[in-house]
Amino acid sequence: MRGGEDQPLAGSVMHVKNYVRFEFQSLPENISFARSCVAAFASQIDCTLDDIEEIKLVVSEAVSNSIIHGYGNKPSGKIVITVSILDKKTLEIIVEDYGKGIENLEEALKPTYSSDPSRMGLGFTFMKSFMDEMEVTSNPGEGTSVRLKRSFLAKDKEAYA
């Protein structure tokens, strides 16, 4: 994780410039919709096409996790996504489900950990790698929330340095 874990929640200290919130059923058909929506909203931030592709990837991973692990592929679950633009250049994505939650969060966050041997266990690795901050909160029986944050200005400066 590149961001400091001891920093306060971004939303509580930074001004939200704009946000969208939407919910949908836990169906694989909706993953593409979810990542396209977030990508379209994120394009308000001055970021590159590569950045947009990475945003699509992390949303896809978080939503797939909710469908597979949170709801055990049952289509009746609810997934809620909130995307916020903070201080013009920072994007915050929160993906929440009300599924079974993660029993052992520490184990689940280990690279290449997977509860299903046919999958690669790369979901959280991608989310951590492509975002500045990742925070997962989960309560068994209640659900899981993944908060992802990334600031885009710093990256541009690096790119043009």
Partner: protein, 110 residues
């Protein structure tokens, strides 16, 4: 439509189109595994030329088919992966197991 499969001698050629997420990955896994029941098929070529997105569900299907093919003594190749798909394939390290080529023709020329 999203997954087109043809057989050339003992090789299965799979051409995928669109966004390789959980939805298409499931379909692809089912269709390839159905064909792999035929013992004559040894090798697998997956053409990702028309794939514009891949996530860990898509990678999972590729790695799973690689394990099956390798266990049977066959070879698997990935061809035509372009940005941003190639970047994700390299990031995952799958290229260390499954050789990647620009086109199906490149494999015929090996």
């Amino acid at each position: 439509m999203d997954v087109e499969i043809k057989q050339v001698r003992n090789t299965l050629v799979v051409r995928v189109q669109g966004e390789l997420d959980m939805l298409i990955a499931g379909k692809m896994r089912k269709e390839i595994d159905e064909k792999l029941k035929d013992d004559k098929i040894k090798n697998l070529i997956v053409n990702l030329e028309k794939v514009t997105f891949i996530d860990s569900s898509g990678l999972g299907v590729l790695i799973g088919r690689y394990k099956k093919i390798a266990a049977n003594g066959g070879r698997m190749y990935i061809v035509g992966a372009k940005s941003p798909v190639d970047k994700i394939l390299f990031f995952s390290g799958i290229n260390k197991l499954v050789p990647m080529y620009n086109s199906e023709q490149d494999i015929i020329n090996i």
